[in-house]
């Protein structure tokens, strides 16, 4: 069993403004081991991105409040000094954002942007030439010819820009890469290229990956462990086999699968989940999915469900008579 790299215990994130209080994340637990890929899947507003930002302590100070513990290699992120935090961000943990168009600085050449990331975390006191060499190496690694390092972001297509973003993220050999919807803005064929490349690089560089997406297909193609998020909770967690081939599921997970049009079999009509995501300023009592659940029972309206555990597979639902929180 490889070592545990990241551990999140009972994380809660609340955004407070003058007008309202948003409960974005409501008590999640998860862990990522070395060289493992964990997928977080869920719809808009499920709390995926907030979780990712909390790991890097990037939540806006003034409005957001995170409670619970986030341990990276056994060290509490909340207790880190500013210097240790800078070391962590971009050094040990890197993040890739959804939109490659806005995550690159348009007036700096891509080679320079990668060099900048390297210079910020230059612990081995590399010389300028060594950094340049590393920039070229990294660009080749993500499939961009090294001679394009002096080009500017607008000279690259969307897929190429996302490759540059990945190059920057990987430049300092991070132990954990957080990818927040890395291919959502890309076309299918380009998405396939980028995903294949990420899969390959992850193997080669022995990096752990936290893949945040709304697409079950991407989860199936890239992840080993999966957490399904709904209204700020992980309602089901397990290995991909548990999730895609297991027998027991949370009703929301079943609904999600049935909502995806199946390309291999023709169905007359999609099974839909009725209703909408609950309002995070006013979450329902009991199980947060109960207003949309087809198998809702009286207890679901009153009590938050415990967790049903079978091996690694955990389901948070009354149907299975969960044991504890």
């Amino acid at each position: 069993m490889p070592n545990e790299l990241l551990k999140i215990e009972n994380l809660e994130i609340v955004y407070k403004t003058d007008m309202e209080t948003v409960h974005a994340v409501n008590g999640i637990d998860l862990s990522i081991h070395e060289q493992e890929t964990l997928g977080l899947v869920g719809e808009t507003g499920a709390g995926k991105t907030s979780t990712a930002l909390a790991i890097l302590r990037l939540l806006p100070d003034r409005t957001a409040k995170a409670t619970g513990r986030i341990l990276f290699q056994g060290e509490d992120i909340a207790a880190m000094s500013d210097e240790a935090l800078r070391e962590l961000r971009g050094g040990k943990i890197s993040m890739i954002f959804q939109d490659p168009m806005t995550s690159l600085n348009p007036v700096i050449s891509v080679g320079h942007q990668i060099a900048e990331a390297l210079a910020l975390h230059n612990t081995q006191n590399k010389t300028k030439e060594e950094i340049e060499a590393r920039v070229e190496e990294i660009l080749e690694l993500v499939g961009i010819p090294a001679n394009r390092k002096n080009d500017y972001p607008h000279q690259f297509s969307g897929g190429m820009k996302q490759r540059v973003v990945i190059a920057i993220a990987l430049s300092c050999n991070p132990q954990l890469l957080i990818a927040d919807e890395p291919t959502t803005a890309l076309d299918v064929t380009i998405q396939a290229q980028v995903l294949a490349m990420m899969n390959e690089l992850k193997e080669r560089l022995k990096t752990s990956l936290l893949m945040i997406t709304h697409d079950m297909g991407i989860i199936a193609q890239t992840c080993e462990k999966v957490g399904v998020m709904y209204a700020g909770e992980i309602i089901e967690y397990g290995s991909v086999e548990d999730l895609f081939e297991g027998k027991q599921h949370h009703p929301y997970t079943i609904g999600l699968f049935q909502s995806i049009p199946d390309i291999e079999h023709k169905k007359e009509r999609l099974e839909q989940i009725d209703g909408l995501m609950p309002d995070p300023t006013n979450l329902p009592k009991g199980c947060k999915f109960h207003p949309r659940c087809k198998q809702c029972m009286p207890i679901c309206r009153e009590e938050a469900p415990g967790v049903y555990v079978e091996g690694e597979h955990r389901i948070k639902c009354h149907l299975f008579g969960g044991t504890s929180r």
């Binding site: 007008m19 309202e20 909408l276 609950p278 309002d279 300023t281 006013n282």
Partner: protein, 300 residues
Amino acid sequence: MNDTEKKLALRKKSRSQMIWRQFRKSRTAILGLCILTVFVLFAVFADVIEDFDTRAIATNQQARFEAPSLKNLFTENAHIFGTDEYGRDVFARIIHGARVSLSIGILATSCSAVIGGLLGAVAAFYGKKWDFIIMRCMDIISSIPSILLAMAVVAALGANLTNLLIALSFSSIATYARLVRSSVVTLVGQEFIEAARACGASSFKIIVKHIIPNSLSPIICQMAFSSSGMILTAASMSYLGLGIQPPDPEWGSMLASAKTYIWSYPYLITIPGICIVLAALSITLIGDGLRDALDPKLKD
């Protein structure tokens, strides 16, 4: 979702009531509105409160430099703001001056907004050649400092109220033309304009129903902000002797004539000064409140 329902339940009112509700939430905007209302009331009823000829214009050598006091209130000789070097009542001059200042603010702003707005809309809508010609002219206008431009216009046409208005409007046309042009250009590219066209709406209908309402709020805010600027510029022009001519009362010219007595009779310069500041400030505060209230996305 309960929240949405609650909000919707409250929505039996018209849009202007909604805007007012939102506007009311801002305390500073309400303060601005109160101050401005006071000025407007005094300006409107200036003739009722103080007679123009006898109190604001006629000199009275016996009553020169009387200090502000509440003595003789409600009588012929009340001088709550004191009197000036000709024995004229400062209060009377202030409220009659308010008429001039406020109407300059409103008229000059409206003129420049209408003319500039039209030019900007034409430039954005017809594009190409028109756009180029109009916007380059605007560039030329805005490259000259506005007060210099206004001075040039007044110097050419002569110093009186009408010419001052023309001068002030002309110098801020460019701001509106740019503002309207940019908002129309972005609006024309929006999908809902295309959606309206797909329903068969004519260009005229699209302009009236979609483009004007959506570009109105930045214009209204700009008008609020620039009318305070207009009052200030008008005051500066009068201060320089290029605006309202003595003995007609105007805040700027009152400042100019009081500058000789700044050490001996400081109230002569502070009172019109405070009035200028308060008027400009109140309009700016209202503009701020309007900007927030007119944005439908902020409505709560």
